[in-house]
C-alpha cells in the first residue's frame, strides 16, 4: 500500500516529512531537480502502468480475500452439477459424439463456471463500488478509460481462469480430462472470460441496485449459459431452436472449448474464433465508450 501517489509525494516533501534531508541546509547535488519533479503532477508515458497494475491488483485481491466464496464455492457447485447429471443421465445417455457423457459434460461445466465467475467479478465489483460510493477512488486517479477497462477485464479474466483451472483440476479426479488441442483450450478460456468480464462491466455500470444485477444473472447469463450446449449437443435441438442456437455466442465458446478437450465440435472451431474475436471487440468497445463518457459513473 506504500506505493500510492500521495505517499511518494510526501516522502520527498520537506514540509511534511521531518526525516527529509531536503529542507535542511543545502540540498545535495541533484536533489533539487528530483524534488521539483516529485512535487509536480506525476508524469508517466502514454500508459500509466503503475495505475493499471494497482487497479488490477485491487480487483484481484478483492475476490481473493473471499476465495472460499469466489473460488471454492463455484468448484463445489460445478462438481454437484457433474454428479447430478452423470447420476441422472449417465446410464441412459452413454455417449455423445462417441464420447462418454461425463467427458462430454466436463468441458462445458468448466466453461460455465468460468463465464459465470468472470461476469460476477466485474459486475459485482462495480455495483458494490457504486452503492458504497468508493467508485470515486477509481475514477479520480489519472487512469484513463482504456486502462480502466483493461484492468477490470484482466481481473475478471483472472478470476474466471483461476476458477476454471481449479474446477478442471478437481474434476480430473473423477473424469478423465484429456486435452486434444491446447491452443483451443487456452484461446477459448481467455476469450470467453474476457467477453463475460466485459459484459459484467457493462451490466455493472448500468445497474443501480443488487436487484438489477440478480435479474441479469437470473434472466440473461444463466439461461444463455445453460441453453448453449453445456449439457447436450445442439444437434438435439428441434428445428427452429437449432438455428437460433447458432446466434448464441455462448454456444461458440462452449463448443470451441470442448473441441480443445475432446477434439470434436458441433461447428468449426475457427468460426468460433471469429465470433469470439468479434464479440470481444464489440463488447470491449461498448464498455470503453461507457467509461469514457462516464455514463452512470460520473456526474
Amino acid at each position: 500500500m506504500s506505493t500510492s501517489s500521495s505517499d511518494k509525494i510526501e516522502a520527498g516533501d520537506p514540509a511534511t516529512d521531518p526525516h527529509s534531508t531536503a529542507g535542511r541546509g543545502a540540498p545535495p547535488r541533484g536533489t533539487r531537480r528530483r524534488l521539483s519533479r516529485t512535487l509536480g503532477p506525476r508524469s508517466f508515458g502514454p500508459v500509466n502502468w503503475l495505475g493499471l497494475w494497482s487497479l488490477y491488483l485491487k480487483e484481484v485481491r478483492r475476490f481473493w480475500n473471499v476465495a472460499t466464496q469466489t473460488v471454492a464455492a463455484p468448484v463445489i457447485t460445478t462438481l454437484l452439477f457433474l454428479a447430478i447429471f452423470t447420476l441422472a443421465l449417465g446410464r441412459s445417455v452413454e455417449t455423445v459424439h462417441g464420447i462418454p457423457f461425463a467427458q462430454f459434460l466436463a468441458p462445458g461445466l468448466i466453461m460455465m463456471s468460468m463465464v459465470q465467475n468472470s461476469f460476477a467479478n466485474t459486475s459485482s465489483s462495480l455495483v458494490i463500488s457504486k452503492i458504497q460510493g468508493n467508485i470515486i477512488d477509481v475514477l479520480m486517479p489519472p487512469i484513463n478509460s482504456t486502462e480502466f477497462v483493461t484492468a477490470y477485464a484482466a481481473a475478471g479474466m483472472t478470476r474466471g481462469i483461476v476458477v476454471g483451472l481449479s474446477v478442471g483440476i478437481v474434476m480430473a479426479f473423477f473424469v478423465p480430462v484429456e486435452i486434444a488441442h491446447l491452443w483451443a483450450v487456452v484461446f477459448f478460456a481467455a476469450a470467453a472470460s474476457m467477453m463475460l468480464a466485459s459484459i459484467g462491466m457493462i451490466a455493472g455500470i448500468w445497474a443501480d441496485k443488487f436487484d438489477h444485477m440478480a435479474a441479469i444473472t437470473n434472466f440473461v447469463i444463466t439461461p444463455f449459459a445453460f441453453l448453449s450446449g453445456t449439457f447436450y449437443s445442439i444437434e438435439r435441438l428441434p428445428a427452429p431452436f437449432y438455428e437460433i442456437a447458432h446466434f448464441n455466442p455462448f454456444f461458440y465458446m462452449i463448443d470451441g472449448f470442448r473441441y480443445g478437450f475432446i477434439g470434436q465440435s458441433d461447428t468449426s472451431p475457427w468460426l468460433g474464433v471469429g465470433v469470439m474475436v468479434m464479440m470481444n471487440a464489440i463488447l470491449l468497445t461498448v464498455a470503453w465508450r461507457m467509461v469514457e463518457r462516464g455514463w452512470k459513473l460520473k456526474a
Binding site: A83, I84, A215, T222
Partner: protein
C-alpha cells in the same frame, strides 16, 4: 425515586395472556413486508431456474428414456425441482433476515420485546412458510405448463411441502444464529445445504447411486425422504415406503425446530 402517578388513561405495562398474540402478529407483519421487499423482485427467479433445469435435462436425455419406475423423466424430475426451490427459499428466508438483523444489531429489538422464544420462532417460521409456499406455487405452475399433471394426493403433497419448508426454515434460523459473518452463512449454504438438497434424489433415482458406501451415505440424508414422499404425493410412485417417509419427515422437522427453539430460549450467541 418516586414514580410520578400516570394520568388516567395512560397505558400501564401491557398485559397479555399465555400467548402474546399482538407480538406474534406484529413480527409476522414486519417479516412478511420485509420478505416481500427482499425477495419480491426475484419472485419468478426460482420458476425460471427450475424451467431451465427441466429443459436442459430433457434435451440432454433426448430419446433415451431412463428407467424411473414407470415415470417419464420429466414426471420424475418436476416434483424434485419444486421441492428443491422451496427448500432453498425457506432457508434463505429465515437465514438472511436473521443474519441481517444480527449484523445490524436490530435483533436486540426482538430479543428485548416481551415475546417468548416460541413466539419469535413462530413469527419467523410462518413468514418463511408463506413466502416459500408462494415460490412453490410459481414453480409448480411453471412445471404444470411444461406438462406435469395435477398432484395425485394433494394433501400429502402439502404435508411434505410444509414439513420441508419448516425443516429448512429452522435450519436457516440455526445457521444464522451460529454464523458470525455473511461468509460463514453463505459457506454453510454452498458447502452443506445445496449439496444435501442436490444429492437427495431430486434429480436422479436411488438405484443410480453406486451400491455400497455411496448408497448408504445417500440414504442417511434425511432430505431423501422428503423428496421421495413429495414425489409419491405428486406422481403416485415412490421408491421408499411413504409411511416411513412421513414419519422421518415429521421427526426431522420437529427435531430441528426444537433445536432452533432451544437456541433462541437460551440466547445462544444472541444474548450476552
Amino acid at each position: 425515586m418516586t414514580q410520578p402517578v400516570p394520568p388516567s388513561g395512560t397505558p400501564q405495562t401491557r398485559r397479555f395472556g399465555p400467548v402474546n398474540w399482538l407480538g406474534v402478529q406484529a413480527l409476522l407483519a414486519r417479516e412478511l413486508i420485509r420478505e416481500w421487499r427482499f425477495f419480491g423482485p426475484s419472485i419468478l427467479g426460482p420458476a425460471l431456474q427450475a424451467s431451465l433445469f427441466a429443459a436442459v435435462f430433457r434435451l440432454a436425455a433426448g430419446d433415451h428414456v431412463p428407467n424411473l419406475g414407470g415415470l417419464s423423466f420429466f414426471e420424475f424430475l418436476a416434483p424434485g425441482l419444486i421441492l428443491a426451490a422451496v427448500m432453498q427459499r425457506a432457508f434463505q428466508s429465515t437465514a438472511y433476515t436473521i443474519m441481517f438483523d444480527k449484523l445490524e444489531a436490530s435483533l436486540s429489538d426482538l430479543i428485548g420485546a416481551p415475546m417468548s422464544a416460541a413466539e419469535v420462532l413462530a413469527g419467523w417460521l410462518i413468514s418463511a412458510t408463506a413466502i416459500s409456499f408462494l415460490i412453490g406455487v410459481t414453480v409448480a405452475l411453471a412445471m404444470i405448463f411444461f406438462g406435469l399433471g395435477v398432484p395425485v394426493y394433494p394433501l400429502l403433497a402439502l404435508y411434505f411441502a410444509l414439513t420441508a419448508i419448516l425443516l429448512f426454515a429452522a435450519i436457516g434460523v440455526i445457521s444464522a444464529i451460529v454464523s458470525t459473518k455473511w461468509d460463514g452463512l453463505s459457506g454453510k449454504e454452498t458447502f452443506m445445504l445445496v449439496p444435501l438438497v442436490f444429492l437427495s434424489g431430486t434429480f436422479f433415482p436411488v438405484d443410480s447411486v453406486p451400491e455400497g458406501i455411496w448408497r448408504t451415505l445417500f440414504q442417511l440424508n434425511p432430505i431423501v425422504y422428503y423428496v421421495d414422499g413429495f414425489r409419491y404425493a405428486v406422481t403416485g410412485t415412490a421408491a421408499t415406503d411413504v409411511v416411513t417417509a412421513m414419519i422421518v419427515a415429521c421427526a426431522a422437522t420437529l427435531t430441528l425446530i426444537a433445536i432452533a427453539h432451544t437456541m433462541l430460549r437460551t440466547g445462544y450467541k444472541l444474548k450476552a
